[in-house]
């Protein structure tokens, strides 16, 4: 793909190609987290939607963020992989560049506790504000207390 060639010359040192197991998918690893916003800006004319944001918790090293971009023209996929520090997961928000990213980022904040700098409205989305913990992290254990959690002070 020409886009990939262009990106590689633009972000030469920080972008590496990885082999992908999926058809139509191009997988790129971005080692410099600060460059994400610039990268997304540069591809947003070509790949117009953030199809999904896959977060994988890989303790103790990293949170792995996979930004899956797609376009309406054909079925091509472009995945940008970014690794975040597990103790301090912070990254720039891309919601202002691609509106479709806004709720995906809120969801990652809600379920994993990843902070997005510059997000217009970073609140929990699926769970209540007082929910204890970040449920999709690997260290979150589903106990009976969690299963029966109502958020109310009820005694049965």
């Amino acid at each position: 793909m020409e886009t990939v060639e262009r990106l590689k010359s633009e972000f030469s040192s920080s972008l590496t190609s990885l082999p992908s197991t999926n058809a139509n998918e191009t997988l790129l690893l971005l080692s410099e987290n600060e460059a994400l916003k610039k990268l997304v800006k540069s591809i947003s004319t070509e790949f117009d939607i953030l199809f999904t944001l896959l977060v994988v918790d890989r303790p103790p090293e990293a949170f792995e963020l996979n930004y899956v971009f797609s376009r309406y023209r054909d079925s091509a996929l472009l995945t940008i992989r970014v690794n975040l520090n597990h103790d301090k997961p912070v990254i720039d928000s891309i919601a202002k560049i691609l509106p479709s990213a806004e709720w995906e980022e809120r969801e990652a904040y809600d379920l994993f506790g990843i902070k997005f700098r510059g997000h217009p409205d970073l609140r929990r989305i699926l769970l209540q504000d007082d929910w204890p913990g970040r449920p999709l992290r690997k260290d979150f254990v589903v106990t009976d207390e969690i299963r029966n959690w109502t958020g109310l002070d009820l005694k049965f």
Partner: protein, 368 residues
Amino acid sequence: MKDSTQNKITINIGPVHPSTHGVLRFIVDISEDTIVKVDPEIGYVHRGVEKMAEMKNYNSFMPVADKLDYIAALNWEVLYADVIEKALNVSITPRTVYIRTIMCEIQRIMSHLLFLAHVGEDLGNTTLFMWGFRERELLMDVVEEVSGGRLAPMYMSIGGVYYDLTLSFGRRLLEVLDTIEHKVKNEYKAISYQNDAFRLRTVGVGVMSKEFGISHGLTGPNIRASGVKRDLRKDSPYLAYDKVDFEVITENDGDAYARFMVRINEILESIKILRQAIKEIPSGETKVKVPWFFKIPPKYTFVRHETPRGEAAMYLVTNGDLKPYRLKIRAPSFYAIQAIKDLLVGNKVADLVTILGSLDPVPGEIDR
């Protein structure tokens, strides 16, 4: 001119309200009767499906995938079975490919009929509500004959389907399709899209431009109503969609009426697909042997399908264990509800229900 920030009233719609199509809540700021700001609140039916996937073995998750979108359960079953089969490198038999195509299209018609019914109900057109359910019931019976289930059929298994089609299935389905085609082309026309009262409530309401839809990641009938010719069944064919002949339906206006018309016409296209598939279905096995417990080596598997609500996807991350390491679910309705907060601004509060209904959201898949 009045300042729009003055006389601002905040009203609450939902979470339990007949027109929110499930458990959804909107906090709406209005000035006079114009909407200024909308804050959709989701998560009322959040069951932690992605966490559940990490706690179950691959086969045990199927009943949960079934209940993600309770209106189009078979499409999600096929998607989940497909992602696991891709990860396992299992290829299903030609007959299973056709059975799954048939089931996906039956489910698409059922889902679109329910959509028509609900839009009718939202607009006070109770007849359309009754008729939508009446025709859907015929297909429900067909699905029940094969799978034993109605709303959540649990028909797909990893490696195939649980039961082969019954002998009378083809004949019965064709009869039902004839009935539905006749009703959609004649009766529905009179009461909905050729009806003045219906047109007044929907034409020019909630207009969504092509650019707006694209930037908000909308897919499926919602984006096709804005003039984007995009359908995964054509663009990256899966199952037997490259072997059947059908059109991708588009409309150019992008209003609630266009979204209604896209779905009406998609019912007719699905009927076309079903007639061809029934004729061409090969005989043979319907199952490939896959053990109940199995391990998948570490890899990333991504599969996306066109469900009645748009492009749904599953991204499976495995680590060689009996359970998935991570399963990310992309629900098309999630993006529709995200877009609605910008789409509703500037509209009248009376049109909220129409616009929401025309986007066809299902809280089951939004909240996961």
